[in-house]
């Protein structure tokens, strides 16, 4: 089993830490979801894990081999970056077909058949310049590149941003089909948590440059509860537990708890205990609306 390991990754821009000594281990054969608010450091972390940007401190290895400027390790990775409509001499000046030709040249496991099929399925105009594409079409180029790369570790940065509901459904369907057929590892960063939650085997929550948790999604949801009721009843039911995201309305109180092994919400109190969705867990952990 392959492992991509980041140790003590720190990234500083203009004297400000964007990532604080992040440790992360990604195993092959899983779909990871990386969630975090804007500016949490998701893209920075993904770009460092794939050697696209250097870390200020720390290291990234694939099965013990450094990935930085190492073609032998890089051939197992693909980070399909989110394309954006920015002016200047950049990828936007290229035609889609030129971009895909470069991808086919440098990604050693490029699946041309799959790329052609996705071009047809997404109805992508490859003769257009990337800068002239709509946001959704740009996302399709990102998705297409990632899937056709056939890389063992494939990273997608906000792949569904700009896609309509139909295209998003199609993307998740193709992603799962590909995962079932190949067992490739996918690491998907996204803001749209709810619809992706079912797809993620493990979730990595990043907040203000640090990893808050990395856990099996199902196990996380099984230990996450919202406890609400009269303030004193809630307080008694959850006493001794670590509380997240408290809210108070008059004499009522609601708290989120993530139970650790051996912990439980005390019985015998008049409180409502509800399971949480991944989005609600994220809200509780990061404190504010996603």
């Amino acid at each position: 089993m392959s492992k991509l390991v980041g140790k003590g990754i720190t990234k500083t821009y203009g004297g400000k830490d964007v990532l604080h000594s992040v440790d992360l281990e990604l195993e092959s054969g899983k779909i990871y979801g990386m969630i975090g608010r804007n500016g949490a450091g998701k893209t920075t972390l993904l770009s460092i894990l794939t050697a696209q940007n250097p870390a200020t401190k720390g290291s990234v290895t694939l099965d013990g081999e450094p990935v930085w400027e190492n073609p032998a390790a890089l051939k197992h990775l693909c980070f399909s970056r989110e394309l954006a409509q920015v002016s200047g001499n950049n990828v936007n000046t290229m035609k889609v077909k030129e971009y895909l030709r470069i991808a086919a040249t440098f990604l050693p496991n490029w699946d041309k058949e799959m790329a052609d099929r996705l071009i047809r399925e997404f109805d992508l105009d490859v003769k257009k310049r990337i800068g002239k594409l709509s946001k959704g079409m740009m996302s399709m180029v990102t998705v297409l590149t990632a899937l056709a790369s056939k890389a063992d570790f494939t990273f997608l940065d906000e792949p569904t941003s700009g896609l309509d509901v139909v295209a998003r459904e199609k993307f998740y369907k193709i992603l799962l089909e590909e995962y079932e057929q190949t067992g490739r590892t996918f690491i998907v960063s996204t803001h749209i948590i709810e619809e992706a939650a079912d797809v993620f085997e493990e979730v990595v929550v990043l907040d203000k440059g640090s990893i808050l948790l990395k856990e099996n999604t199902q196990e996380l949801l099984e230990r996450s509860f919202h406890v609400s009721g009269r303030a004193e009843e809630v307080e008694a039911a959850v006493s001794g537990l670590r509380l997240y995201h408290e809210e108070r309305i008059g004499r009522s109180r609601g708290v989120t708890v993530l139970l650790e092994p051996g912990e439980k919400i005390r019985d015998g109190y008049d409180v409502s205990v509800q399971r949480l969705s991944l989005q609600k867990v994220f809200l509780a952990l990061c404190g504010e609306e996603a």
């Binding site: 250097p54 693909c78 001499n89 950049n90 040249t105 440098f106």
Partner: protein, 224 residues
Amino acid sequence: MGMGNVKYWGRMWLEYMGAVMGIALALMLFFAGGRVIYPGDGINGIWKTICVFYPAYLVLSAFFIFSIGTISSFQTYLPVLVSLNATRRESVWGILGYNAGGVMAITAVIALFWMMPSSEVGNVTELLLLISGILLMFSGASVLMGAVVGRLGKKGVIIFIIFCAVFGGIFGGMAAITAQKPGDFLLDFLMNFQPLWAFILGIGVYVLAGAAAMMLVRKMEVRV
């Protein structure tokens, strides 16, 4: 260097060579069209004329295409290539390779023209050494500027503009001091070089510029 890199930059080299030769032809037809230096020699005179003009425009268009192409390679293509798993090191090798390959190819094409029986150009070897040396120096400067622009972004573009302005200012000033047309001044200036030394200097500048470019892009951030 991986096969993908060789394939990619080899294709780039072919495209640039096609552009250089095509533009040289267009320039020759546009600026020298109809002028025959040896009118009494018939068809042979036309060939002799082409042997004089085409190499000159080839060098001119090489300056133009390779400088723009090299800077664009660092600014636009290198980040895309790195984002698609090429390494910075092999990308710089690719850029250095197609530039050096371009100089060699242009020198070879010029040599072909000048070695034709109808050509009346003398001291071919010396001239070829001089041309390839100067092209290498120019390519080296383009590689260095490209790396600065690629590494520093907008600041790099400003440095590049200042560099061009200073270079142009010095060149124009010296032409003015010697009361010559810029073209004549450039020709005199170049002809004062010892061909072998120009060639050696060209290689030296190219190697140093390549090493500096490697250093500059060593930890370049990728934002595509």
